[in-house]
């Protein structure tokens, strides 16, 4: 399975705009400063174990009352990072969670290191550096106590923010603050970490740090930013992607009551930076938005309007029938395997473009003054935003300050920073005045970076014993000039590559003007459905079930190497979750289910996480209803925050059900997206949530990896395979429509 997370593009944008992570000392450093009033601040900069040249910084501040403030450097998007990263520091600092206050830091790669929240990368990237940060601070406090008591540091222990010494002596961290600041900083790579058997915070279920503030309705989100004399803005762009502005009735709109400014914006045409448009500014966002009814823009969009879903699908089908334009992988001798096959299976699979539909619409606040910009942004990828704003406005990156807000859902949408560039460009037109840009829901749906649609034509060769001997996939994906669009490329490591069967993976491209991007489990979310759906067909054609076929294939190797910075795929870990899911779902008893019910299985490895899932469906009123889902995951040696880990899995499962069952598909007519809001691009509702979701974790020896994504990909094929078991009908195209069962 591919590990096409964002590793290859650490800043989230392969086209440039990288986080230029400064190379500090390779070992990083720790500096401690005594604060006025007796506190202590540790400035911890640590060479990241996995992001070459990257640094992690966390500010740890110990107040005179022994309360500890920990800086959370990654934006909270619902993935739990704002709670989880400080847990790692607090664990090794050996303080009680009740002592901790968490502060969101601003964005600054030079100080904080990588701050992107995407690709489920935060956990693997920070597991060691964050803990070392806490351990180094603890070591300095211990050294200070040892000196004061005239004993060896090794004779001292710590507990709950105190250093404990012989004869019952003890001092709070706060009491040692001034001395600790003068201690030499330990070498971070060598600082001793706790034996994991003694963890007191890692592995505990800890509630989200902002949960009480959310429940109280506190203003935490980008959309809640309020500044004195702030204006609100809407930004109107060409409905057909790629259109440019010819003219607009700006003065007519300027004359409307309540409209403060109408600003034409000339962009560079790139959706990820700045497209042409008109901003309407008012003291009230509602007034600004109402004024757009009077706005008439003439677009130069003839070329853009030539694109539609219909022509795209026709083009894709024509390509699918032919030979692939490029070979992504040829291993073994697929031609010979097909020639020798006892049986072959063929099928085509398709999935549509999808929008992210974060519940908080894209928004950003910016103030431009004296050649500098201050930004308040709900962004998953602040440094890429800084680069894009600097380029679009022609200013130095250092002239941009980015404050991070809580984020009302990301799912990869906010790895792009188009709204940030737009807000900054609009603010530049009204120097000194803060401007808050908010997309309408319709803007948000129609100006996304969509999960690319895909088409697959599969062939499989099966031998006399029912074993898979060759797999051929011809994948048609949007792209031009030999390059697939963002999040649209095929992977040479797609399962079961490297595990025995001969493989031919081909790719062909079809042009689109749709901006595309990373949606939760990018590169895997659609592909997993196609591959695991087809492999279910292959398994049954060979007289076995999919778990059996998967386990057979996994016998083909113990480890498969992946790209740089990526751990190998370990077949034992895959086996572990498959066996767990089979056991917990009573898979073996599924023949006893009543008619019209069925269970389906799928496994997928993505974003370094191994997940096997079983879905139980029953047909009701002509549509499949999900009765239960079982998920078994292996994300390494520790589940850092079990409460949040389960939440991520539950959310991924219902998200996947939504993608398949409630009618999500983004389509295009005349170059523009047809869907506009939750009526035409629906999200799953509580009534779509299964009554039962069981989650189990299998732990392994490898370091912990992220939870935001890997539980999603296997869900859709498990559902599709369950529908086949229940009805005998194959789901070879998404979304699943009631007509399919008519």
């Amino acid at each position: 399975m591919p590990l096409r997370d964002l590793y290859a593009h650490p800043c989230g944008d392969p086209g440039g705009g990288g986080v230029s992570a400064p190379v500090l000392s390779r070992r990083g450093f720790i500096a401690a400063t005594a604060l006025a009033g007796g506190g202590l601040m540790f400035d911890l900069r640590i060479a990241s174990a996995q992001a070459a040249g990257g640094v992690l910084n966390a500010f740890v501040r110990i107040a005179p009352d022994n309360r500890v403030t920990i800086g959370a450097k990654n934006a909270e998007v619902g993935q739990g990072a704002k709670t989880m990263l400080p847990m790692l520091i607090a664990e090794e600092l050996d303080i009680d969670w009740a002592q901790v206050t968490i502060e969101q830091t601003h964005a600054d790669a030079a100080i904080f290191g990588p701050q992107s929240a995407g690709g489920s990368r935060t956990t693997p990237r920070e597991w060691l550096p964050s803990r070392r940060a806490g351990a180094a601070a603890r070591a300095m406090l211990v050294a200070a106590a040892a000196k004061r008591w005239g004993v060896e540091p090794a004779t001292l222990t710590t507990r709950s923010g105190r250093v404990l010494g012989p004869g019952g002596r003890s001092l709070t961290y706060a009491a040692l603050a001034a001395d600790a600041a003068a201690m030499p900083a330990p070498e971070l790579e060598k600082v001793a970490l706790k034996d994991s058997a003694t963890f007191r915070i890692i592995g505990q279920s800890i509630r989200g740090v902002d949960t009480p503030a959310i429940v109280a309705g506190k203003p935490l989100y980008g959309i809640d930013v309020s500044l004195p004399d702030m204006l609100h803005a809407v930004f109107v762009t060409c409905p057909a992607f790629g259109g440019t502005m010819k003219s607009a009735n700006l003065d007519a709109v300027r004359a409307l009551p309540g409209v403060a400014h109408v600003v034409p914006i000339k962009g560079d045409g790139a959706p990820e930076s700045l497209v042409d448009g008109v901003a309407i500014l008012s003291k009230s966002w509602w007034t600004a938005n109402k004024a757009r009814d009077a706005l008439e823009i003439e677009w130069d969009d003839a070329a853009a309007r030539a694109f539609s879903s219909e022509t795209l699908a026709e083009g894709a089908k024509a390509k699918l029938a032919g030979k692939g334009e490029a070979e992504v992988l040829r291993s073994g001798d697929p031609d010979a395997a097909f020639a020798a096959a006892a049986k072959t299976v063929e099928a085509q699979y398709h999935y549509p473009f999808l929008a992210h539909a974060t519940l908080e619409p894209q928004n950003c606040t910016a103030r431009f003054a004296d050649g500098k910009v201050e930004i308040w942004a709900p962004t998953q990828n602040p440094e890429a935003g800084r680069t894009a704003v600097a380029k679009a406005l022609g200013i130095e990156p250092a002239a941009i300050r980015i404050n991070l807000t809580r984020i009302g859902g990301g799912f990869g949408r906010r790895l792009m920073n188009d709204y940030m560039v737009q807000a900054a460009a609009i603010a530049k037109a009204v120097p000194g005045t803060p401007v808050k840009l908010i997309y309408t829901r319709e803007d948000d749906t129609r100006r996304d970076f969509y999960r690319p649609a895909g088409w697959h034509r599969f062939r499989a060769a099966i031998d006399g014993q029912g074993r898979l001997t060759a797999l051929h996939d011809h994948f048609v994906t949007p792209g031009t000039g030999g390059k697939a669009v963002r999040a649209g490329d095929a992977s040479a490591s797609e399962f079961p590559a490297g595990l025995g069967p001969a493989i031919l993976y081909e790719q062909s491209l079809i042009p689109t003007n749709m901006p595309t991007g990373w949606l939760r489990a990018p590169g895997s979310n659609g592909v997993a459905y196609a591959f695991q759906g087809f492999l279910d067909e292959v398994a049954l054609a060979g007289g076995r079930d999919l778990p059996t076929l998967m386990l057979e294939l996994l016998d083909g190797a113990t480890e498969l190497a992946r790209g740089p910075n990526q751990p190998p795929f370990k077949t034992a870990r895959a086996r572990g979750v498959i066996e767990k899911a089979v056991a917990m779902s009573s898979w073996a008893d599924r023949a006893r289910l009543p008619k019209g019910e069925g269970k389906g299985f799928a496994f997928y490895y993505s974003h370094m996480g191994y997940f096997a899932e079983v879905v139980h469906v029953a047909m009701a009123e002509g549509m499949p209803v999900v009765r239960a889902v079982w998920a078994a995951g292996d994300v390494g040696s520790h589940i850092i925050n079990p409460l949040n880990a389960v939440h991520q899995v539950q959310g991924s499962i219902i998200d996947g059900l939504g993608q398949a069952l409630v009618g999500q598909a983004i389509t295009q007519v005349d170059g523009a997206v047809e869907q506009a809001s939750f009526d035409t691009h629906p999200l799953p509702r509580i009534t779509d949530a299964p009554p039962r979701i069981e989650v189990a974790f299998v732990t392994s020896e490898d370091p912990p990896t992220g939870m935001g994504e890997p539980a999603l990909p296997p869900l859709i094929p498990a559902l599709a395979n369950a529908i086949f078991a229940a009805t005998g009908r194959r789901v070879r195209s998404l979304p699943i429509r009631p007509e399919m069962f008519a």
Partner: protein, 150 residues
């Protein structure tokens, strides 16, 4: 036009277009930012408030039509014992993920429990079906409502 409003037990006078949705009056005129904008079309429930204790979509409620109805928002819902119980259940179950929908969810849950103090599973789903949660926290929304009803 000058409009009088009762919000969270306090009297306010605002200068606003009577067509302006209550949502934007709360957010822009009264600085009550807890009520959220999700769609502006009555489809997501993020903007849910109470009018005389009954759940209403503030994005679909012109401020000129609020009249003398008592408006309760997420900032004021904990003033009642029921509101407090629901909030506590929400924290206990750690319902939020991104949290953006949760003000609306809590307002709908309180309205549901006021109407139906012991809802069964079907009544919970029916009562909450108008509130979207993109993070899909539905499992815990159900659990928190059951806990608050107990």
């Amino acid at each position: 036009m000058a409009i009088s409003l009762q919000v969270n037990g306090r009297a306010h006078r605002v200068e606003a277009d009577p067509d302006k949705p209550l949502l934007w009056v709360l957010r822009e005129e009264l600085g009550l930012l807890g009520t959220k904008f999700g769609c502006g079309a009555g489809l997501c429930g993020a903007c849910t408030v109470h009018l005389d204790g009954v759940a209403a979509r503030s994005c679909q409620t012109p401020v000129g039509e609020v009249g003398r109805a008592a408006v309760t928002t997420i900032e004021g819902v904990a003033a009642t014992a029921l509101g407090q119980r629901v909030g506590a259940a929400w924290i206990d179950a750690d319902v939020p993920q991104c949290g953006y929908c949760q003000a609306g969810q809590i307002m709908s849950a309180v309205a549901l429990l006021r109407e139906t103090p012991k809802p069964d599973d079907a009544a919970i789903d029916a009562g909450m079906a108008g509130n979207l949660c993109r993070c899909a926290t539905y499992t815990r929304i159900r659990a928190a409502i059951r806990a608050a009803a107990a």
